[in-house]
């Protein structure tokens, strides 16, 4: 089976977010970057399926500046076979990302697109569903378990929904988006990094793919969310109850 796994370059999840003094953007000085955690999980799942089936190919793709090569190399070091970078520097929204991925999909013809459910910078949770919609293929979002026999024409997915765990069967090819509990991604080894250097990393542009990457979402202004200030310490359960009752928060 062939897997396509999009990887987004994002701030490391432990980054303390600061804004540039003029509010024009988020401060990137001294920030550590990582593969979006949900994408690393998606990649891990694709690698496991490929290795379990004993054959297949895992192609990783990122849309961004040349800096995203770092995350693609990390994906190759984890075990992906090939990488594609679609170079695009300007602001881009989910729909434009999905259009680029749809063009990559048509070029690569994978059996499955496995990707993160959301990017931890924009928290949009949109691209996978948009991609499936553009392609008119099935989708299973927020999955915490995937059953994918090698010769199957459908995948069984366990989805984490607000109501509980939902099981669905989705016809392949399909887009599947990973939630946090799907697996624990492997660490990159020194050997993996060595091997990654020899693996192909192709670069192209949205224009090469015939895609208009104009963003319909335009950021006008960024501000820090209002900070809560710490309140008071209470010394006992009685004092806590008295405070909460004084505000009629509890009976």
């Amino acid at each position: 089976m062939k897997f396509l796994v999009p990887l987004k370059r994002v701030f490391d999840p432990d980054t303390r977010i600061r804004l540039k003094a003029d509010g024009s953007g988020v401060e990137t000085d001294g920030v550590k970057y990582a593969i979006n955690p949900f994408d690393a999980i998606a990649l891990e799942e694709a690698l496991r399926a490929r290795d379990l089936h004993g054959s297949g190919e895992v192609v990783v793709v990122s849309i961004g500046s040349t800096d995203s090569q770092e995350q693609l190399r990390a994906g190759l070091a984890m075990g992906a076979d090939r990488a594609l970078l679609v170079r695009h520097e300007a602001e881009i929204d989910s729909l434009a990302v999905a259009k680029i991925l749809a063009a990559v999909y048509k070029k690569e013809q994978p059996n499955l697109v496995l990707m993160g459910k959301q990017a931890i910078d924009d928290d949009s949770n949109q691209v996978g569903q948009m991609l499936a919609g553009l392609l008119g293929i099935g989708q299973a979002t927020f999955i915490s378990k995937l059953t994918l026999p090698a010769d199957a024409n459908e995948a069984t997915c366990c989805r984490e929904t607000d109501a509980g765990l939902e099981i669905v069967n989705v016809t392949l090819p399909a887009v599947i988006t990973a939630d946090l509990r799907l697996n624990e991604p492997r660490y990159v080894t020194a050997l993996g990094i060595m091997k990654a250097k020899k693996k192909p990393l192709e670069e192209l542009t949205p224009a090469d793919l015939g895609v208009d990457a104009t963003s319909r979402v335009r950021t006008l202004k960024l501000g820090l969310a209002p900070k809560r200030s710490a309140g008071i310490r209470v010394q006992s359960v009685d004092e806590l109850l008295q405070k909460l009752r004084a505000e009629t928060l509890i009976p």
Partner: protein
């Protein structure tokens, strides 16, 4: 284009045949937009045996309530549901399609946006619409940054954060109900529902409750969680929630997770019991009106956002709370 061409379609969410409370936040947002732009709004519900839903949704001044009723939509999956929504949006001439944020809407609405070639925003906090100039606010980076953005294009799609919109005002006249013609032959059939382990807990949903009692890694097993967190929730008539640590450990079901990747809640009172206050957890609860934290570690970051902090062991504090509240 004239300003009053704004036409909002609200997608309602049903749970066990009833309208989910959060849907009303999206209705409130639609009322605001209709009022500011001189436009109108309709509501669409998808499901099976939906007739009672028409009345419930018809109380808020919608131009029309559409019901898409079919056994195929009993547990609506994204392939069919998005096609129905797209079809209704197109035939009704909707320029805006919205729903309350949830795993239901996040699964389906982006697919609708793609089918309508519309830009989309998730979890919108506020909308300013003047004629065709729209600016919206939403949170980025686990709630640390608020972005003000423009959404271009003839059709706009977004989900709204339920806690950011107050309940809608009722209307004196009932909206007419129309049923949507469904052509089941032409429907996609790529996603097949098998099962859902949804267990009616008898407790309110954390996104709708006035009080949420939430437990973290301090709780050692599911019996303790049920006895302490569940027990306190029950004396308060509250919902329960948990940090990701407990869901990962199999102590709580995923539906209880609050945070960046779980549910976002903003109750009157949030009780954070035995959890550290990681930024990803704060993203899901820091807009609560009042926050109580109980933690053995006086330096735990949760105290930085708590209105009332108590340094103590949940295994002692919570039983005492339950006993004194009984």
């Amino acid at each position: 284009m004239t300003a009053n061409s704004t036409h909002v379609l609200v997608v309602a969410e049903l749970e066990r045949g009833q309208v989910k409370g959060a849907t009303l936040a999206a209705v409130a947002c639609a009322q605001q937009i209709a009022q500011k732009t001189g436009g109108r709004f309709d509501i669409l519900a998808l499901g099976h045996e939906t007739s009672s839903v028409g009345d419930a949704l018809g109380k808020y001044g919608a131009g029309r309530v559409y019901l898409a009723d079919s056994s195929d939509l009993k547990n609506p999956q994204a392939d069919k549901a998005s096609q129905v929504i797209t079809q209704v949006a197109k035939t009704a001439g909707a320029t805006v399609v919205i729903a309350a944020s949830s795993t239901f809407s996040k699964d389906i609405l982006p697919r609708v946006a793609a089918q309508l070639d519309a830009g989309m925003l998730t979890d919108v906090l506020s909308v300013t619409a003047e004629g065709n100039d729209w600016t919206l606010q939403r949170a980025l980076f686990a709630g640390n940054v608020i972005a003000t953005v423009a959404l271009d294009g003839p059709v706009k799609v977004f989900t709204v954060r339920a806690s950011a919109f107050a309940a809608p005002s009722p209307s004196s006249t009932a909206s007419p109900v129309a049923s949507v013609e469904l052509n089941s032959a032409g429907q996609p059939n790529q996603i097949k529902f098998v099962s859902c382990d949804e267990k009616p807990s008898g407790r309110p949903d954390a996104t709708e409750a006035r009080i949420v009692v939430s437990g973290g890694r301090a709780l050692k097993n599911s019996e303790d969680f049920e006895r302490l967190i569940g027990g306190l929730a029950d004396v308060l008539g509250a919902a329960v929630g948990s940090s990701r640590a407990l869901v990962d450990a199999g102590i709580t079901p995923n539906a209880l997770q609050i945070g960046q990747t779980g549910k976002v809640v903003a109750p009157e009172l949030y009780m954070a019991l035995g959890m550290s206050g990681a930024i990803q957890h704060l993203a899901g609860m820091k807009d609560s009106k009042r926050i109580v934290a109980v933690n053995t570690d006086p330096e735990a970051p949760i105290f930085e956002v708590a209105d009332y902090g108590l340094v103590g062991d949940v295994y002692q504090v919570v039983p005492e709370l339950i006993q004194k509240l009984k």
